[in-house]
């Protein structure tokens, strides 16, 4: 009558030590994530992801990222989720201790609803004591490859007042297989102002990929913030990118222009990548500051169960209003070794050299155990 129960998850233990001119400290992190379900009801399960940590001499602290029970019928046409859950749907964004419901009315139309208390931003295992709750809804209509429509709404309340009240609409699709468009409009119902607008086109032409984006946005300032008395100005941003694939190599460039209320900023990033690593250069000037940087990352599979990792970066930057030139250099080297299937070991030495916090040497050792029964 009852099917078998299955559990799948991962256990990871991490020792992280660092040594700076001010502090010598060792931290320990113990994380666990798993999902349990019965084979007779594949869409119903309990899921959790959490970690506890001892950082230096401080007390143990905990973070519960997910802790929920999920009920779903066949192929998830109806789903109820109760507990702490990470929500990322349209304008609904955050971690709630509460209820999430999904209902696929017809194959093309899905409605989701969320309500609950906002989880503490530290994600510790307690219910927020203050009157801080939130609810939202998300409707998605999949008309076909060419047209997908999403409408979403999110409200946050604190101390019996609405502090965030936003509605959003997104439209996207692939009218042709090599072409993708995306439009996203967000309106703040409380301040009666446009909160954000994003318009993007992606086009693939053989080995080339092109992307252009326009973005207009206001800072996310809630209604109970003192900063509401000020003029909340928006910024506009244009982003253009191109990439080219040549065999196993990929080359890319991206230009970003940001128009702030009074000043402007520019940024250019170029990079080259292979399957096992990438090298990038960044140039920036204008309001956001002057910056020239180079960064590289290598993850090379030396053996089928041994991956070597190297990372290095150098930035020379100057904040516009300080006129102080600063350097930041970093380096890390490590490996990921899997002696046998469910077990993996990760070790890494990290070094940061900068004029603000002086030199900083860190060591990471992690043991990852995956299980499935």
């Amino acid at each position: 009558m009852y099917g078998q129960f299955h559990i799948r998850g991962q256990l990871h233990s991490t020792l992280y030590a660092f040594d700076t001119p001010q502090v010598e400290q060792a931290n320990f992190y113990q994380g666990l994530q798993f999902r349990i379900n019965n084979e007779k009801a594949p869409s119903s399960y309990f899921n959790t992801a959490f970690r506890v940590a001892k950082q230096g001499d401080s007390d143990w602290d905990d973070r519960i990222y997910n802790f929920y029970g999920n009920y779903g019928n066949t192929f998830d046409r109806f789903q109820v989720r109760v507990g702490r859950q990470f929500i990322y749907q349209g304008v609904v964004n955050g971690t709630l201790d509460g209820l999430g419901i999904k209902f696929r009315l017809v194959p093309k139309l899905t409605i989701r609803g969320f309500a609950g208390l906002e989880a503490p931003f530290t994600r510790d295992f307690r219910i927020v004591e203050s009157d801080s709750n939130a609810f939202g809804a998300h409707l998605s209509y999949r008309a076909g490859k060419a047209v997908n429509l999403d409408i979403s709404y999110f409200q946050r309340r604190r101390n019996e007042a609405t502090v965030w009240n936003i509605v959003g609409t997104a439209l996207n699709g692939n009218p042709w297989s090599d072409f993708h468009y995306y439009v996203d409009v967000r309106h703040n119902l409380e301040s009666e102002q446009l909160q954000g607008l994003r318009f993007r086109l992606d086009y693939y032409f053989g080995a080339f990929g092109f992307s252009g984006e326009f973005n207009r946005q206001r800072p996310r300032i809630q209604q109970d913030s003192y900063f509401r008395i000020f003029q909340i100005s928006e910024f506009s941003q244009f982003r253009g990118g191109v990439n080219y694939t040549l065999g196993q190599m990929q080359f890319g460039a991206q230009y970003l222009f940001t128009d702030f209320y009074i000043e402007q900023g520019n940024q250019l990033i170029v990079n080259a990548a292979t399957e096992w690593g990438y090298l990038g250069l960044v140039f920036q000037n204008g309001y956001g500051g002057e910056n020239i940087g180079v960064f590289g990352d290598v993850r090379y599979e030396l053996l089928s169960n041994l991956t070597v990792k190297l990372f290095s970066s150098y930035y020379n930057y100057e904040r516009q209003t300080t006129d102080i030139s600063e350097d930041a250099t970093s380096f890390s080297a490590g490996f990921l070794y899997q002696p046998f299937q469910p077990l993996a070991l990760q070790a890494e030495v990290q070094e940061s050299i900068n004029s603000t916090y002086d030199n900083d040497l860190r060591g990471l050792f992690r043991l990852i155990y995956s299980f499935r029964k």
Binding site: N66, T169, S211, F227, I229, N271
Partner: protein, 297 residues
């Protein structure tokens, strides 16, 4: 505001009507074959027609019956089977998929091809999509590793992931559940329960989310609005705690910061107009004290 809502609702309604009428393109060939008639009314078994399915070991196998199989029953009405010449095998399905293995493990045809029994026409092949395969595998503790179904060397990276600014744009796909070819979404490949949170809410000690030295360079990223910090740091208390603990003293707050000439607001006025987020990073908590002295409450 009412105008905005009206436009939105009109637009949404129009879209619903147009797409409901259109109902999407029909499958190539579009044969008007009724499984319902054959399976329900005539009580035929699936294997009566798809006899080779039982021994099929590869997704590229052609499992459509030969025309002669149809002619066994329809020998006096050959016009009913003429369209079969236009059927093409479903060659793009997973090369490694084995019907034999699934049937041998106790699955039935209907385990996967659930809706086909009632299908009045066969414009859709009623083949489960990858999400449905993975849900079933998940429930039976069968591995969902890519290599379990895909061949070595298959390029599984979606085109969207190739773009140079995917690190920023991937959120748009995730936020609105954008589906790609084969009805795939993020969770189709990223099956780990906390895949998003591993980056978005982690301790970042392995530097996957923010590279080394990000503590000192993050202002450049934040100020250029290159990333949406609030996607993960939904509470500004995060900024305040760190700035306070590390005694971050902004070096642009120098003499003349608030007033270069009496009443002009100095550089701080320009900074606030350009990037109010930067002010909030430290001052939101005690704004009434810090700002209220001049600006009032």
């Amino acid at each position: 505001m009412k105008n905005w809502l009206l436009v939105l609702l009109t637009f949404a309604l129009l879209l619903l009507v147009v797409t409901a009428i259109a109902d999407g393109p029909m499958q190539q060939n579009d044969p008007r074959f009724s499984h319902e008639t054959h399976v329900v009314d005539e009580e035929l078994e699936c294997l009566d027609c798809h006899e080779v399915a039982e021994e099929s070991q590869a997704g590229k196998d052609n499992l459509f019956p030969e025309r002669s199989v149809c002619m066994d029953c329809h020998d006096e009405e050959p016009e009913k089977t003429r369209w079969m010449a236009h059927l093409t095998p479903i060659s793009t399905y997973s090369e490694k998929f084995s019907h034999e293995q699934h049937l041998g493990a106790g699955e039935t045809c209907e385990s996967c091809h659930t809706p086909i029994k009632a299908a009045m026409k066969s414009e859709r092949y009623a083949i489960p999509n990858m999400n449905e395969c993975m849900t079933c595998h998940e429930s039976k503790a069968i591995t969902n590793d890519c290599a379990n179904c895909h061949l070595p060397g298959e390029n599984l990276l979606p085109m969207t992931h190739r773009l140079v600014n995917f690190d920023r744009n991937h959120g748009d796909l995730a936020l609105n559940g954008v589906r790609m070819a084969g009805n795939k979404d993020c969770a189709s490949c990223h099956t780990e329960q906390a895949f998003c949170q591993d980056c978005h809410e982690s301790d970042n000690i392995d530097r996957r989310t923010h590279a080394l030295n990000f503590e000192v360079t993050h202002a450049l990223v934040a100020q250029m609005k290159k990333q949406e910090c609030a996607t993960c740091h939904t509470e500004r208390q995060f900024c305040i705690d760190c700035h306070r603990d590390n005694n971050v003293l902004p070096r642009n707050h120098k003499v003349g910061w608030t007033n270069k000439f009496a009443g002009d607001g100095g550089r701080h006025r320009i900074e606030a107009l350009n990037d109010l987020d930067a002010c909030l990073a430290c001052h939101e908590q005690n704004a009434e004290i810090t700002c209220g002295g001049c600006h009032g409450s």
